[in-house]
């Protein structure tokens, strides 16, 4: 049971929106102490794992390029391109992007797009232009459009990549089942990912096609019950959450 204490720290820390790096460090300390490790042992284990996982932070090497392109008008050009296409609604744009991203991920091309490379400089400004051709939308609604663009990239990636037979998760499943004497072809695993991939296209595609901005963008009282009402977990108190801008953005 004591092993779960670290998990409780994470849960409480994220719910109270404390500084996440501090929460993670405390959770690591609590988990390690609960498992009978000494303080120096925990520090060394955490430092070692931090060092071996540096590859997740390498993707930011694209930022100087993205910044230079944005300085020279990339976002404005992306917006103008979308504004020039009459009839390109937010739904069609995001559903189209979703399909492309899912198909390319299904062919194993997972690093072709991502939040720093494509969502921030291209997809998000295009989505804003498609949702709001006149430029009259209130900022909270614009933020929801950008968040939806990021969500579309994630969902398309997750439920596309598992169709590719040489992706990490397929190899992990094959390797794990092999230890127990079950020999399974990677192709069989990737075939079983197809029904869910189709469900993802249909479910999320329908959601982006149906998405509409709220008519009165600053109706605080009904805020929690509108577009984001499906977050069952805290349907009670969504409205006030976005006021606190603590150094996050």
């Amino acid at each position: 049971m004591i092993a779960l204490a670290g998990l409780a720290v994470i849960l409480i820390g994220f719910l109270l929106r404390l500084q996440p790096l501090l929460v993670v460090a405390v959770a690591a300390a609590v988990t390690g102490l609960g498992a009978g490790m000494g303080p120096l042992e925990i520090l060394a284990a955490f430092g070692k794992a931090f060092n071996t996982n540096r590859y997740v932070t390498v993707v930011y090497v694209v930022l100087p390029l993205i910044g230079l392109l944005e300085r020279n008008g990339l976002q404005e050009r992306a917006r103008a391109l979308v504004a020039g296409m009459r009839g390109l609604s937010l739904g069609r744009l995001l559903a189209g992007y979703m399909l492309l991203r899912q198909l390319s991920a299904g062919l194993g091309l997972v690093s072709i797009a991502g939040h720093p490379q494509t969502v921030r400089p291209l997809v998000a400004p295009m989505a804003e232009a498609a949702a709001d051709p006149e430029g009259t939308m209130a900022e909270p609604e614009r933020e929801k459009v950008r968040a939806l663009a990021a969500a579309t990239d994630n969902i398309a990636l997750f439920f596309g990549e598992d169709v590719f037979i040489a992706i990490g998760s397929i190899l992990l499943m094959k390797g794990f089942l092999e230890q127990y004497g079950l020999m399974i072809e990677p192709l069989a695993l990737s075939m079983w990912a197809i029904p869910t991939a189709i469900c993802a296209s249909v479910i999320h595609g329908t959601r982006v096609m149906l998405w509409k901005p709220k008519p009165s963008a600053r109706a605080e009282l009904v805020d929690g019950r509108s577009f984001s009402s499906a977050d069952e977990k805290d349907g009670r108190s969504t409205g006030s959450g976005r006021a606190g801008g603590e150094g996050a953005a």
């Binding site: 996440p20 460090a25 794992a49 392109l69 072709i112 939040h115 933020e143 994630n154 977050d231 953005a249």
Partner: protein, 308 residues
Amino acid sequence: MISTGFPYAVAGLMFAGFAAWSLAKRRWPNGLMWALLALSFLGGDRIGDVGNGVLVLALVAVATIGVRGAAPSIVTPERKAALAALYRNRLFVPALAVPAITIGGTFLFKGFPSLFDPKQATLVALTVAALIGLGLAAWLFRARPAEPLGEGVRLMDSIGWAAVLPQMLAALGAIFAAAGLGETIGGMLGGVIPAGSLIVAVIVYVGGMALLTMAMGNAFAAFPVMTGAVGLPLLIHGHHGNPAAVAAMGMLAGFCGTLLTPMAANFNIVPVGLLGLSDRYAVIRAQAPSAILLWIANLVILYMLAFR
């Protein structure tokens, strides 16, 4: 052989440049944070495990004191619109060169396993693509070296502490694994299933995958635990489920959990800073309805199709 050394050196030099820029602008916490990351990338293999642990504590301290948000752009929106009208679709060329070179490079480098570490081919290719794209853009716009540096710092500052969170969470996963957290939860969940009930076993399996993934931030960490505790003994051996279907559906149920947790920071928290969203959980909120419906779809597909 070219492996992680090259991308890490490029990232380290970039963060060193970000640090120098920030310190010159008297943005001390930001300068300190990027300097610590530069040290990690350039010297992480030389300072030992405890040294890296101290480096992490320093990063946590800087983040807790508070790094500052991005400075406003010095280029006016009107000027950007004018430049956009001037360069038009040429702006997309360096942007699209990055994915093209990443893909091409990955295939190319894998063809020369004696020169390039095949496991790191994508990371090396991405770094090469970023450098070529930057060269192309600098030539196209006749940019001074300070321009990409200053703009890169602005983007990096907009991500802020969230840039370090995915790596911190990966390290926390290692501590969780050492403490046997997954096995503890898997054992607890495995114990609640009444004997012989297929539907309860299926719900606990896909539900456990989603919840455990939310707790650990990664379906890969949850899969061996839940499949070992429920999938193999009950669904595959007990109810003669199709092993490929049970494994694949379990993993995909875990992906639904990934969409719902701040622990999957590079997908759910990093874009919040990158896109300037004021609600830290805005991306998770946007994903939640799709994730929950997809989880139900997974449950139904597994129950209906895998046991015949």
